[in-house]
């Protein structure tokens, strides 16, 4: 832009009213051009001076005069009020556009006629019709003359002809000449009449009046007036005494002037007329200052808006009040900065930041690009989503290749040596078929794992018993007929003897007898504790001893009445523990009492107590009861009342 072009933008530049792009261009130019800078500075200075033009404060006197005039207007009918806007453009009025103005036509007619100014056609607020004027006596025809507000000019087009048909065109100069001639004629006639006859003076003198200055007065009054007297309050007085007469009472003479008494008093007190009253200059000054919107702050009078602005924390810059923040914002914005998250940044930087870039030296780059640059410069390259250090990657690759080569060499050397790699280890190639068959090498020979285990168990003294391996000693003891009781191996009769002794029985004549029972029964035979069919006290033969051998961890002993008659009662012991006392037997095995038996040899002892339903009437009858192992075999005992019988039961 040149200096001349910039000049067009001076005002808008000062008022900060330029579009962004233009403002930048203008600012650039001004920064570089000292001449334009000087021009801008001078323009600002001259505008500041222009703004100092004073405006007097609105006074009560001013307003009073205005109100009087308004009252005078009110006294007139509205219709008679003149249009104050006549001849003015009034853009404030929102009316329809005016039709094109018609030129005002003035027709100049012969002497006996008048010239009239017609109202403009189509204009609502026209001027008043021109007064009738005399026209020259010459026979003239009319000519249209255009009147446009303040000027009269002939229309370009010739006007229509009058009825006579003869048209003489008058120019404005001719009009003026005609008017001047008429005026001269009037003066001439008047002067002639005055000089020849002096008609008014003659008439007044004959009425007894005398001319005194410009006035006609009665003769006596004229004499007084000629002596310098004045007529006041019905009498002729000397001028000085007339003044005193008029002034005395209400007025006081101050120097050469007569002043109203009250005014004199006020003025002596140092007061001046002010706002329909009197006030000291200081009061006037204060009132006027307040009226002008000033406020006293300390010794200074300050505009109220300035005080309010200062209270609001504003500061004044270039005749404008603004907050410090707004000023900073304005200056920063002018300097091309933008505010971002509480910080002022150059506009370009803000754009980059908004795009998520970071500054590196003089450049703006995205973080990703920066990381990429740094990694590349550090010798990394991207492999998919992973950054790999080129040298380290090469070293690792070399190492892996070397390891692969070493492994391959080892593999082939092993293969060459006749080995094969099976299940994670190298074995001679000839062993591979046996291994595939599940064989293992033990002591230089190939065998199966089962054989190996059996050999080991045999070595350790075990003997296979069916599917189980048992110690050879245990097998031999069992074959000898011993049974295991805890850690001990006993013969069955040894175990019975121990148990019976523990239960308090004693053996007499091959029978086990309880001493208490023997005495309480009064000589009755002690209950026998022998197996059915076995000789008393004899060792039961192998395979027939006791009664039952059960291959169960536990068995259930059942006792019932085989005579199908309910009601017989018994006592029952298993080993030495009394399990039933006066137990009433039931007839059916399904209703029998059930007692648990653990593994081992047990002595079951039964004593008949009552005979049931038939007991009392048939004392010879016996108690017949069945004892059995559930699901196994059973035996039947027939006891007389009070008789005890025992049986062995071996649960294995």
């Amino acid at each position: 832009m040149t200096c001349d072009e910039i000049q067009e933008y001076y005002s808008a530049y000062i008022e900060n009213d330029l579009p962004e792009g233009v403002r930048e261009a203008v600012t650039r130019h001004i920064e570089q051009c000292m001449s334009c800078r000087r021009e801008i500075k001078a323009l600002k200075m001259s505008l500041r001076a222009l703004m100092q033009v004073p405006a007097p404060a609105l006074s009560d006197a001013y307003m009073g005069r205005l109100m009087e005039k308004a009252e005078a207007i009110d006294a007139q009918p509205v219709e008679s009020l003149p249009d104050p806007l006549a001849g003015m453009e009034d853009p404030s009025r929102m009316t329809a556009p005016e039709p094109p103005r018609q030129p005002l036509e003035i027709r100049i007619k012969p002497v006996v006629e008048t010239v009239e100014a017609a109202k403009p056609r189509g204009k609502g607020r026209g001027r008043a019709p021109a007064r009738a004027q005399s026209a020259p006596a010459a026979p003239v025809a009319s000519e249209p003359v255009a009147v446009d507000r303040h000027h009269i000019r002939p229309t370009r087009e010739p006007g229509p002809q009058d009825a006579a048909g003869s048209t003489i065109v008058f120019r404005p100069l001719r009009l003026l000449l005609a008017g001047a001639a008429l005026l001269l004629l009037g003066f001439g006639v008047g002067y002639g009449l005055q000089a020849r006859w002096n008609l008014p003076a003659t008439v007044l003198a004959r009425m007894g009046l005398e001319k005194q200055g410009e006035m006609w007065l009665p003769a006596e009054a004229a004499k007084e007036a000629a002596g310098g007297a004045v007529y006041v309050d019905g009498a002729w007085r000397r001028r000085a005494s007339a003044v005193e007469h008029l002034m005395e009472g209400d007025f006081v003479k101050v120097g050469d002037a007569w002043v109203p008494r009250d005014e004199a008093r006020q003025r002596l007190a140092g007061r001046l007329p002010y706002a329909d009253g009197w006030a000291t200059p200081a009061e006037i000054a204060r009132s006027e200052l307040r009226r002008q919107g000033l406020v006293k702050v300390g010794a200074r009078w300050v505009p109220r808006e300035e005080v309010e602005a200062l209270r609001a924390g504003k500061i004044r810059i270039d005749d404008e009040w603004t907050t410090p923040e707004a000023l900073v914002a304005k200056r920063m914005t002018e300097a091309g900065y933008v505010r971002r998250e509480g910080q002022w940044l150059p506009a370009a930087d803000a754009t980059h930041l908004a795009a998520g870039k970071v500054r590196v030296g003089d450049r703006w780059v995205t973080p990703e690009a920066l990381v990429r640059e740094r990694l590349v410069s550090a010798g990394y390259y991207q492999d998919g989503e992973v950054w790999v250090h080129a040298e380290r990657a090469k070293a690792e690759e070399d190492e892996a290749q070397a390891a692969t080569r070493a492994a391959e060499e080892a593999y082939f050397s092993k293969r060459m040596a006749g080995f094969v790699f099976v299940d994670g280890r190298w074995i001679p190639a000839e062993d591979e078929p046996k291994l595939r068959q599940g064989m293992i090498r033990a002591g230089g020979a190939w065998t199966t794992s089962d054989e190996l285990v059996a050999a080991r168990l045999r070595r350790e003294g075990y003997i296979q018993d069916g599917d189980a391996w048992r110690p050879a000693k245990e097998v031999a003891l069992r074959e000898e007929g011993l049974i295991q009781d805890g850690d001990r191996w006993l013969r069955p009769e040894q175990l019975v003897s121990e148990r019976m002794s523990q239960a308090g029985y004693v053996q007499r004549n091959g029978l086990w007898v309880h001493p208490g029972t023997e005495s309480s029964r009064g000589g009755k035979p002690a209950p026998t504790l022998r197996g059915e069919g076995e000789p008393s006290g004899a060792k039961p033969p192998k395979g027939k001893r006791a009664t039952w051998r059960l291959s169960k961890a536990a068995a259930v002993l059942q006792v019932w009445d085989t005579t199908q008659e309910d009601g017989a009662t018994i006592n029952l012991w298993i080993d030495d523990a009394k399990k039933l006392h006066n137990h009433r037997l039931r007839a059916a095995p399904g209703d029998a009492i059930s007692l648990a038996l653990s593994r081992g040899l047990h002595a079951v002892t039964v004593q008949a107590v009552g005979l049931g339903n038939a007991g009392a009437s048939a004392p010879s009858r016996n108690v017949t009861l069945g004892i059995g192992i559930q699901g196994e075999q059973s035996i039947t005992l027939e006891l007389t009342s009070g008789q005890i019988a025992s049986r062995w039961i071996l649960v294995e």
Binding site: Q7, E8, Y9, Y10, S11, A12, E39, A42, L43, S46, L47, A49, L50, M51, Q52, V53, P54, A55, P56, A57, L58, Y62, M63, R65, L66, M67, K69, A70, I73, D74, V78, L81, P82, D83, P84, L85, G87, M88, E89, D90, P91, S92, R93, M94, T95, A285, E288, L289, Q292, A299, R300, W301
Partner: protein, 196 residues
């Protein structure tokens, strides 16, 4: 409450004889009109007289037609009247006489300034008036409306029935012309000061 009444409302009320409404209208525009006329005719005293005439005319308009056909502010109407009065005054008076320094100082006396400061300010304002007087009437009117009275560009455009762009462009030219005239007077003043 009265401050909230629009110009049109006040004009309507004044039109039916409400003097309070008329007083409010005068108070609203007094300073603006007087400062405008003061800059326009270059004479604060005469500006006050003319402003009174302007407000009388405004009252007559109110009486005749109220706010009929107008909307918004009365500023356009008031300044149209004032500008016409100012033009008539300049036309009637011809070349402006320089304002008496003493008269200027009277107007400036209200401010809390020392006599020296008031005199310096009066001298500067005299130069402003002189520089304004060198401008063509149209140019002066625009400049005074904008920079003395402080009217908005839109208000000026509405008052003079011109386009906004035209107004801005003319005001820019008016400012440059005023600046040149004012600087010339400033330089002359400095010259006088040196030789004195």
């Amino acid at each position: 409450m009265d401050q909230e009444r629009t110009d049109c409302e006040l004009m309507d009320a004044a039109g039916v004889g409400d003097k309070e409404a008329y007083r409010l209208l005068v108070e609203r525009y007094y300073r603006r009109v007087v400062s405008f006329l003061s800059g326009f005719v270059g004479d604060p005293d005469r500006a006050q007289d003319l402003s009174q005439e302007a407000f009388v005319k405004l009252y007559t308009v109110c009486r005749r037609e109220g706010s009929k056909g107008r909307t918004g502010e009365a500023s356009s109407l008031v300044f149209t009247i004032a500008a016409n009065l100012g033009r008539d005054e300049l036309r009637r008076r011809g070349r402006r006489k320089e304002v008496e320094m003493s008269a200027l100082q009277d107007h400036l006396a209200a401010r809390d300034e020392s006599p020296e400061q008031a005199a310096a300010r009066a001298e500067m304002i005299q130069k402003v008036y002189g520089a304004l007087d060198e401008l063509p009437v149209d140019t002066k009117q625009l400049l005074v409306m904008r920079d003395v009275e402080g009217m908005r560009y839109e208000e000026i455009a509405a008052t003079l029935s011109l386009k906004l762009g035209t107004i801005k462009s003319r005001i820019n030219r008016a400012r440059l012309a005023f600046k040149n005239a004012f600087l010339k007077r400033q330089a002359a003043g400095y010259g006088r000061g040196v030789h004195a």
